[in-house]
Symmetry: C2
């Protein structure tokens, strides 16, 4: 087989591809087998195992349409973007992304480290595991990939070249629709609300004018504010963990957008885990998640300040007071996005298992807690300054929905 024209590979073809193209990764003798292990929305993930060396790698191939719905037709350019971004992220935040070995623009695939010794973080948190290094690692990742790709640090002409290189119209459109638009209006009838919460969502979300107006402002901020190279999909399903390691994967949504977009996604997904642990009355795990949420926000702020002082090269950015102003706008965006992600995963097309694994009134309560917190995050996003502020909002939301009323 020549692999000179694009087609969507099956397991056998992916193994042949690896034999022909990637033998150098395995040594002189190898015997490859393959398993498709993708469960995301957009791609095919082939794990290639060499029975001789025991070594394994991943081939990630983009299909011509999204797996979640063939409504989303996507340019395979996202695979080039993913490859280049992973290279760049490895430079900026070494050890926190998988190593990439090759990119094939014909077959639209990227070859990278197999992380089978890691677990998808969402699943691990649903099993009530804890990851003591997580807050340290993810804040290193965010501060290094975000602040260091902003105009504060990068030479401005170089930064504009990067902006140009990573303009990502199709993937951004998915976010604009699924995160910023549909959850608050259902105008395309694509939302997927849990039956027992339909009335509640109708009253508290679809009919909230304040919410709609504030999300409109946030949407234009997302579309127009080319602040830094954001990952663009930094939820706990895009993070692989083991006890002493954190790896951020799937940067295909990356583009130059607001820094708060990534930070808010991390916080919202810690909140989903927290609500899930609460539903299972795993109070120790909740406590760890609360500590981690606070640590993530506060370490982000601390390291952001530190990295600013060490790296700022922009003469104007050194003006006293400008760092504080800039960070305040990042936190405001972060808070808004936390609310958006909480809403869209409950109301919109793409759900999270933390919530969908719950049933009946337990799910009803978990969803209302998330949405109730989300409304505050979006509408009052100007008044969050530290990790504790986020937790206080969520505890207030939880206290509105007594467990005994939802049993």
């Amino acid at each position: 087989m020549k692999f000179t024209t694009y087609f969507t590979m099956n397991e056998e073809e992916a193994a042949m591809y690896a034999s022909e193209k990637l033998g150098y990764l395995f040594g002189d003798e190898f015997h490859l087998t393959c398993k498709e292990i993708g469960d995301g929305n957009l791609n095919y993930i082939f794990r290639i195992m060499d029975e001789v060396s025991g070594r394994s790698i991943i081939i990630k191939q983009s299909g011509p349409v999204a797996r979640i719905s063939d409504e989303f037709k996507l340019s395979p350019d996202r695979n080039r973007i993913e490859y280049e971004i992973l290279k760049l992220e490895e430079e900026l935040a070494p050890g926190l992304v998988p190593i990439v070995y090759a990119y094939d623009p014909i077959m639209n695939c990227t070859v990278m480290d197999d992380l089978s010794d890691h677990q998808i973080m969402r699943k691990a948190l649903m099993d009530f595991k804890v990851f003591p290094k997580f807050a340290q690692d993810i804040t290193d990742f965010m501060v290094n990939t975000l602040l260091l790709t902003s105009d504060v640090v990068l030479e401005h002409k170089h930064k504009k070249d990067l902006v140009k290189n990573f303009i990502n119209p199709e993937l951004c459109e998915i976010t604009e629709d699924l995160v910023y638009t549909e959850p608050f209006s259902d105008y395309k009838n694509r939302n997927d609300v849990f039956e027992l919460n339909k009335e509640w969502v109708d009253e508290h979300i679809y009919h909230s004018h304040a919410l709609r107006l504030e999300t409109a402002k946030l949407k234009f901020e997302f579309m127009n504010h080319a602040q830094a190279l954001v990952h663009g999909d930094l939820h706990t399903g895009s993070i692989f963990v083991k006890e002493d390691s954190t790896k951020v994967i799937d940067p295909e949504f990356a583009f130059f957008g607001p820094i708060g977009y990534d930070v808010g996604n991390v916080i919202a997904n810690l909140i989903f885990a927290w609500v899930h642990s609460d539903a299972h009355q795993q109070f120790d795990h909740m406590q760890w998640l609360e500590d981690t949420l606070i640590e993530t926000v506060d370490l982000f702020i601390f390291k952001f300040n530190l990295a600013w002082d060490h790296n700022v090269s922009e003469s104007t950015a050194k003006t006293p007071g400008f760092k504080e102003y800039y960070l305040a706008t990042v936190l405001r965006d972060t808070t808004g996005v936390t609310g958006l992600e909480l809403c869209r995963r409950i109301i919109g097309l793409a759900h999270v298992k933390d919530i969908t694994s719950l049933s009946g009134n337990v799910r009803v309560r978990a969803e209302r807690i998330c949405l109730s917190g989300a409304i505050d995050f979006i509408v009052k996003r100007d008044s969050y300054y530290c990790g504790e502020d986020f937790l206080v909002s969520m505890k207030k939301a939880m206290s509105k929905f007594a467990r005994e009323d939802y049993e």
Copy 2:
């Protein structure tokens, strides 16, 4: 001559170029002569006249460095940008830009209408002329080229392709340095302050922390806010006028930036003309300029609202209250940029003749009026809502510096 390798043409060579490449514009028989008429900072402007038909055209060629200072090395890509922008602007705002006929990527030149029957607006205003159609024309130009290239109207993926196509790192850098940085710090020692105002500028500008902090915020807004396709250099030296016609030229600074950048430049340059007329005690002309300033702001707001209601295609942008929010941010940016342009033309490297044609204490006073208004525009930019607000600030500034004290 083949014109197959780039070189900077002289008059004779430009005439030969027109004979060889552009004969089709003149008819079967022609006899061409040429005169270089450029007085801008960046390019060579050849007027080609055909003595047979009487027809004339302009060839605009980019040099490899800016004429103002060879510190600025510029990619000739700005000529492609100019050509494509003029085409696009003619579609969006018909009749308000010169027609372009050809673009030559080898010789880095663009061929367009000769506007010799028009006058550069700055010069005409310095001769105390009035242009009754100006406010109507320039607001048509701004609303149509700006709002219609924003996400409010354009399909979002198409808009992102345009953003990519018009990323303009080198010309943006000039603006970042000359408009947003140097006038407020003089950190590169390139400023050029009128001797008799050096002390005043030192006290009121270089030592104002508020001003420096606010201009830092505005600078990052300019760099990161890809709102609409701005002209990027819309002063009265980029506008040709005659009594019944307005033509906007020189869009080589164009890129996707804040809408207020263009509007603020127009207002600031009307203010320079107003201060110039005041210095010459041409009170009728001042009155026309005051009316025109108010009309320009108020018509911009009026037409912006109208064009929004007619053209908005973005579902989220239709949220009640969003238009008012969006317009308020545009006016805030407009006000800030008005202040920036007033400062940089007096303090920075590139001056305007409205001011430099004055001398002694008359110039001292004119500059202080401009700078004093500018400080308000920048620091209090949140509180300007209509044309009258701008004029009130400038009249207040003028009243601080009594004519009799500066004679």
